[in-house]
């Protein structure tokens, strides 16, 4: 898997209230949720983001609520992948389960807004085309790879064992 895109860079502890405020959780419609993506962090984000862009952030991305709407909103805004120094557990699960590519880079300080980066997931390499630098990203555990390969948790379950009783 090769993902290339323009970077939007933000900081640490970006929580689900900033990603999609609860006042908009009266719907599950991706298009409606995308309109308010990251609104309380940067109200201009939705104007700036273009399809295929990549979100690069610091530590503990997606902490807070379990709302999967956060992942839905980010995906529908056009973001193609996230690179973070670490993720809050529930957000990470939600991203894996719904097929939003998420990667861990121990230190994201050398990547800034506007850079063009390329993620070579198979080889665990991230190239910053703008600064012409190469970084190694953390490998994905085998069990999680099975879910990704199936195309998300729903497909994984469908293939496996659905309650027949």
């Amino acid at each position: 898997m090769l993902i290339k895109g323009r970077v939007h860079k933000y900081g640490n502890n970006i929580n689900t209230d900033e990603i999609i405020p609860a006042r908009y959780l009266n719907t599950t419609d991706p298009a409606k949720l995308a309109r308010h993506c990251l609104e309380d962090l940067d109200k201009d984000f939705v104007k700036k983001v273009k399809k295929g862009d990549i979100l690069v952030v610091g530590k503990n991305f997606g902490c807070g609520s379990s709302r999967e709407h956060a992942v839905v909103s980010i995906k529908a805004s056009g973001i193609s992948a996230i690179i973070a120094e670490s993720y809050a557990r529930i957000f990470f699960r939600n991203a894996i389960n719904t097929g939003l590519p998420v990667f861990i880079l121990k230190n994201t300080s050398e990547i800034k807004t506007g850079d063009i980066v390329e993620i070579d997931a198979d080889n665990g390499i991230l190239r910053n085309k703008t600064g012409n630098k190469k970084f190694s990203i953390d490998p994905i555990p085998k069990f999680i790879e099975k879910i990704i390969d199936a195309g998300g948790l729903i497909n994984y379950v469908r293939k496996k064992k659905v309650s027949k009783n």
Binding site: T28, N60, S65, N94, P141, R158
Partner: protein
Amino acid sequence: MKQTITQKIIARHVGKKELRVGEFVEAKVDIALANDVTAPLAIEKFEKVGAKKVFAQNKIALVMDHFTPNKDIDAAGQVKKVREFAKKYKIKHYYEGGNCGVEHALLPELGVVRPGYIVIGADSHTCTYGALGAFSTGMGSTDLAAIFATGLVWLKVPPTILFRCNGKFSKWVTGKDLILHIIGLIGVEGANYRAMEFGGDAVGELTMADRFTVANMAIEAGGENGIFHVDKTTLAYGKNLWKKPDIYFSDPDADYERILDIDVSKIEPTVSLPHLPSNTVPVSKIKKIFIDQVVIGSCTNGRIEDLRQAASVLKNRKTNPNVRLLIMPATPKIYAAALKEGLLKIFMDANAIISPPTCGPCLGGHMGILAEGERCVATTNRNFVGRMGHPRSEVYLVSPYVAAACAIKGYIVHPEEM
């Protein structure tokens, strides 16, 4: 192998005697929970799985608490969708309207969640039930959809941090102050992917309400679960709710990743300043911060014990004219008890607004939204940017004692100064 209570409960649910930390397993779920925000998305995903039935009609709980009473047409539409799903699949534990309360107060009260269970909820504060000696954690809607279909969840067995709490609690210090103190100590990511186990003699002194509060906020340190051992307090709580609970204990020399000793006698009433729960300081260190609103309630602090604490401070006093005081009993049963005990009279005499059981203002949903620049002192669990309304409003997290004192004075104050 020496194991923690968390390892043992998970092992039991995969049919094994023991499990190594870091192992990936598929475990049987005893209760799967979702609410009016997360259930609609879970239902959409469930329909994609193609299952004809849910894994067990009596093991799914759907609690319509977040926007109740429904705040607008879209919110009402979400509840309608869940209600129809509950009818179609004959879900036993469906709660809406007058039998509905804040999920994490309601389900223990009804005996739906029990010691030794694995409870998975599409709500991050599902970790609350660890107070009962259950393995209980929050996940997203897709995970819930998969459980609805299969009854199974994938887990990575977490390492455990033991918080060994000893000493005597000072006056005015509650479970809320203990957990805020701990979050301040280890940070909002301090227990990410980890079990938080609460032990030591001081824990035995905590009421069930306090234990629910402590376990509830494990997620604010990133914790996968927060867990207590079952003791006589737990058994007394469950006496009329369940028989023969499934009880597990950590081995005395279990392999903890880290042990933190907490001397609770050193903890003061504590406040989390905006905009992270880990920004904690003792209330006594705060200079006058004037406030516009006080919220007492939520899955963190909306139980009858919490309302009693608030009432003890508010009795024969009036809310400051610059402050709106909102009190939200977390369930109908708690509401009825507060009425019977005369607490609601005390609140009304203090010019408080008494709200129906709802998550409402805690998440900035409805019923108590903040304007730009407004400040709120709350017994809730999060103070992120925009949590209760405008992105430039502020939330300060405290115990019910402190919240009540702030409502009277109009600024952040130690209850001792009443």
